[in-house]
């Protein structure tokens, strides 16, 4: 596990925020507003990189392309292929959870996010995305208490900052 401060990341996040301010985003799905944006904001560029296999990286990029094009099935299919190669890659598992969230398959979104948390760093941005996804999914599954617990857990992801930071 490597911890890196990416200044470029901070700049990008800031640019993104500026961009959000001036122009409303095309898609305002809750996966962006309630999972990705807050997690990214909180972590403010703190990234926990796991070593990603080049093939997995390629498939993830293809999935991103498919998601941007609005083809969630195709995105899911790329991620499934990536999971065949690295079944416990926390980033791919979380990404799959976010795709499931957009497809309104809340139970599977929850399951993939939990799996990602179990095999992930349990800290930092991905941790926050894990718990935020879990929270949103539980909300849709009518588990209000569970949702607020998960919200609580998401806020703790940044408390235990790695020693190197």
């Amino acid at each position: 596990m490597k911890i890196k401060i990416s200044y470029l990341g901070i700049v990008l996040v800031l640019l993104l925020l500026v961009g959000c301010g001036s122009q409303p985003p095309v898609r305002d799905h809750e996966v962006n507003t309630r999972v990705r944006a807050p997690a990214s904001e909180e972590s403010a560029g703190v990234q926990v990189y796991s070593l990603q296999n080049p093939a997995v990286k390629q498939l993830t990029a293809q999935a991103e392309g498919a998601e941007r094009a609005g083809d969630l099935d195709q995105a899911g299919s790329y991620l499934e292929r990536a999971l065949r190669i690295q079944p416990r890659d926390p980033q791919v598992l979380q990404y799959m959870a976010e795709i499931k969230l957009q497809k309104e398959d809340y139970q599977q979104a929850l399951n993939f996010a939990v799996r990602s948390y179990d095999s992930g760093p349990r800290v930092g941005e991905i941790c926050s995305r894990n718990w935020r996804t879990i929270s949103v999914a539980r909300e849709h599954l009518k588990d209000a208490n569970g949702a607020s617990d998960a919200e609580q857990r998401a806020s703790q992801c940044m408390n235990t900052r790695p020693a190197a930071f």
Binding site: Q74, Y78, R115, D118
Partner: protein, 786 residues
């Protein structure tokens, strides 16, 4: 409606009769009325009847879609830098996918290899998630994995390349038989003409029924005083085959004739003949019927239809009249007579010259001693594919023409699995075990549940009994991990070091008899830590723990893990007096191997129509179980079964000491031997025993584990991962003291505990220990004790 018509007609007839009595009309008029009556009846009853028959026969004919069967593909092999892959495996995958080795891979579907450097020219292929153009790439292997993969100019990493998958079979998903389909253009000319010469000389001219042949047969039969000749056309025979029944009634015959006429109306001669050649019944192997000349050619001669010699073709043509009567293996003399008779017909119809006939007749029958099973090389796996298709898809979808079915089979791994079984049993025989042992082996991916290999018989390609799917056998000690899992879920009562009693125990069975299980070594071991009872597979301790957790809960647990078999609620269930199939056991342990993320085992990933539309995909669905913390702790204990318990000889068999979780199983009187083993990425279950369930002298350690090791010796795999989920921590403890301790203390052992289940007190060191000894302490503790 028909009955209404009938009534009106009957009424009319009555009035007519009255009139007749009075007026006595002419004979012609009476005949005319009778004819009208018959026509009316014919239309009223006959038309719906014919429409019904038409539906039946067309449904059958089109349901088989004999010209476009469904193609079944193996999983495509993904190639990327860093992927673990041996040269042998890559060669096996290329071979299975039909790649030709050439000096330079200039054409798609070819490759060249020098040393560890491959030049592969991939074909264009429509994968289930999109098409890929043909491409040529260079691949280097080193140290058991892909060290580089680049496009043919050698510049830059190609990233991920998928090999087009092996086509493993053509099937009709709704039918059980394995068929080897042949296109009419590939059928030897002598078979096409010979069939007509022997069975139906008017084939080209009739419309489904040949009155002349019927008349000829009638005369011949009358002369002989019994049925010696049939007047059925090839079309009638085809219809008869669709609705196989030995019933010989007139109504049946009439139905067949009508359906034959209807078939001829809808389809041309070439289609009908092709269907006939692929459909006709030519033998029986166990519960599987041998249909079609392509399959029969393999079954009797072990060669493709195109390679048959004239006398072999004559034999098969002769068998059309009675596949069992002229069975060349069972009735060689009769078969030979029939063959020569057919050859004579070939001669009289000018299909062969007198000289050729003489040579042909001098040849022996030429059938192989034992039938080659399955037309496919992977009949056992295809069995699973068929069952899952029928379970998960609508029959109407499966009936459509030319589906493309994408499966999870890894051809190289299937090859290794079959070798592991075949060679493993041979080796056991040499070690003095019985020569009629059988075995089954299932290999799946842990996280996806995708079945990579499935072996159901010691003989490759034979599949009259698929033991991997159908052999229900007692699982013995393989059940024990579940008993201990239930215990570990009770955080307040159990952890891995909780002392449990291994002492004689007697229980009243539901039938009133007394059950007193003994240990394998016929000793009781007194009070032992829970983990020791598991890794040494103590029966008496397991029953003690099992009675605490409850048999009903154990059965519920088995269900949760995805198994739906009948399980008796008796104490003996605690020791595995439960009959499960190898695939069910694999399902059970997939859930554990994946840390509680259960997925249904699957062999099919997607089904596409010929136009590339997705019928449906099986998406990866996770089903997390509760108590994943207990599963993680149990998995640690199961790695210790291999490190120092009943499976400790596994490392020797594998030739390495990679961390593996496993469990052996043996049943009463050594009838069954089981081994379940899993790594981070793979789970496999092997079974060895006798089909008739007699004592076989096998134990989990001496038989099934050898088969398992035979497979894993050839597979790349990742060591089992001991990373614990949230809420489970490794803690240093002193086992005899049942207390927390300092890592530096003598006797300190590091073991995972679910938070809250750790010992409540600490102990002080009596003696400090050497730092370098710490790692192997758990082992040391065992060694000191024994």
């Amino acid at each position: 409606m028909a009955s209404k018509v009938k009534k009106t007609r009957a009424k009319r007839r009555k009035t007519t009769q009255k009139k007749t009595a009075k007026q006595k009309p002419g004979i012609l008029r009476r005949l005319f009325r009778l004819a009208m009556l018959l026509v009316g009846l014919g239309i009223g009853l006959g038309v719906p009847w014919v429409i019904w028959l038409d539906m039946q026969v067309r449904d059958e004919f089109e349901g088989r879609i004999w010209d476009v069967p469904s193609r079944v593909y193996a999983r495509p092999l993904s190639l990327y830098t860093g992927k673990a892959l041996s040269k042998e495996s890559l060669l096996a995958e290329l071979r299975a996918a039909g790649y030709r080795k050439t000096s330079q891979a200039s054409a798609p579907g070819s490759y060249s290899v020098s040393g560890n450097r491959f030049d592969i020219h991939r074909r264009a292929f429509a994968f289930d998630d999109g098409s890929a153009p043909e491409t040529r790439f260079l691949l280097n292997l080193s140290g058991g994995s892909i060290s580089s993969i680049s496009d043919v100019s050698g510049s830059g990493d190609s990233g991920l390349v998928r090999l087009d998958p092996a086509e493993i079979a053509s099937i009709y998903p709704l039918h059980d038989e394995d068929r080897t389909l042949v296109a009419l253009t590939d059928v030897p000319g002598l078979l096409v003409t010979g069939l007509q010469a022997v069975e139906d000389r008017q084939f080209k001219h009739h419309h489904g029924v040949a009155l002349r042949s019927i008349a000829r047969a009638f005369v011949a039969n009358l002369k002989a005083g019994r049925a010696v000749q049939g007047g059925s056309t090839l079309t009638q025979q085809l219809v008869k085959n669709y609705f196989l029944s030995s019933e010989r009634t007139l109504v049946r015959k009439a139905n067949e004739a009508i359906m034959a006429l209807l078939l001829e109306l809808h389809y041309d001669k070439a289609h009908i003949l092709e269907a006939y050649i692929n459909e006709i019944f030519l033998g029986q192997q166990g519960k599987h019927a041998i249909h079609g000349f392509g399959r029969a050619s393999e079954f009797y001669f072990d060669r493709p239809l195109q390679d048959l010699e004239p006398q072999q073709i004559a034999l098969l043509v002769g068998m059309v009249r009675g596949a069992s009567l002229y069975n060349p293996r069972r009735n060689p003399q009769r078969a030979r007579q029939r063959r020569d008779q057919v050859l004579d017909i070939f001669a009289t119809t000018g299909l062969m010259s007198a000289g050729e006939i003489k040579t042909a007749k001098a040849q022996p029958l030429g059938v192989t001693e034992k039938p080659r099973s399955g037309g496919s090389r992977y009949p056992a796996f295809l069995d699973l594919v068929r069952r899952q298709l029928r379970r998960d898809y609508r029959a109407s979808d499966l009936r459509s023409e030319g589906l493309r079915i994408f499966t999870t089979l890894a051809p190289s791994e299937q090859e290794y699995a079959q070798l592991a079984v075949s060679n493993g049993l041979k080796e056991l025989q040499q070690r003095g075990l019985p020569d009629d042992l059988q075995s089954a082996l299932v290999l799946a991916d842990v996280a996806s549940g995708e079945v990579r290999a499935l072996v159901g018989d010691r003989v490759a390609g034979r599949n009259y009994f698929n033991r991997a799917l159908d052999a229900r056998r007692q699982i013995g000690s393989v059940i024990k991990p579940l008993v201990y899992l239930l215990a570990l879920e009770h955080v307040d009562d159990y952890n891995l070091i909780t002392p449990v009693k291994d002492e004689p125990i007697s229980l009243r069975q539901p039938d009133g008899s007394l059950w007193s299980p003994a240990n394998y070594d016929h000793k009781s071991h007194g009070e032992v830590p829970l983990m020791e009872a598991l890794i040494r597979s103590y029966n008496q301790a397991t029953v003690q723990v099992g009675l605490n957790v409850g048999v009903a809960n154990l059965i519920r647990k088995i269900r949760q893990l995805g198994v739906n078999a009948e399980i008796p609620a008796v104490p003996a269930t605690l020791l595995g007096a439960v009959e499960l199939t190898p695939i069910e056991v694999t399902q059970m342990f997939q859930s554990l191997a994946a840390g509680g993320y259960s997925v249904p085992l699957r062999s099919v990933t997607a089904v596409l129509t010929p136009h590339g539309e997705l019928l449906s995909r099986y998406p990866l669905r996770l089903m997390p179980l509760e108590h994943r913390d207990a599963i993680a702790v149990l998995n640690f204990a199961l790695t210790q079964v291999v490190e120092q318990g009943t499976a400790r000889s596994l490392h020797g068999l594998l030739g390495n000491d990679t961390l593996i979780a496993g469990k052996t199983g043996t049943t009463n009187e050594r009838r069954d031997s089981w081994f379940v083993g899993y790594t981070r990425d793979r789970v496999a279950v092997s079974w060895v025993g006798r089909d008739d369930n007699r004592p076989a002298g096998v134990t989990g350690g001496n038989a099934a584990m050898r088969v398992w090791a035979g497979l894993f010796r050839n597979l790349p795999f990742e060591p089992f991962d001991l990373r614990m989920p949230d809420g489970v921590n490794f803690v240093w403890v002193d086992i005899p003291q049942q207390a927390l301790t300092d890592p530096s203390c003598s006797g300190a052992v590091q073991i995972p505990f679910i938070e809250g289940s750790e010992p409540g007190r600490s102990t002080k060191c009596l003696q400090k220990q050497d730092r370098k000894n710490r790692k192997s302490l758990w082992r040391k503790w065992f060694e000191d004790k024994n």
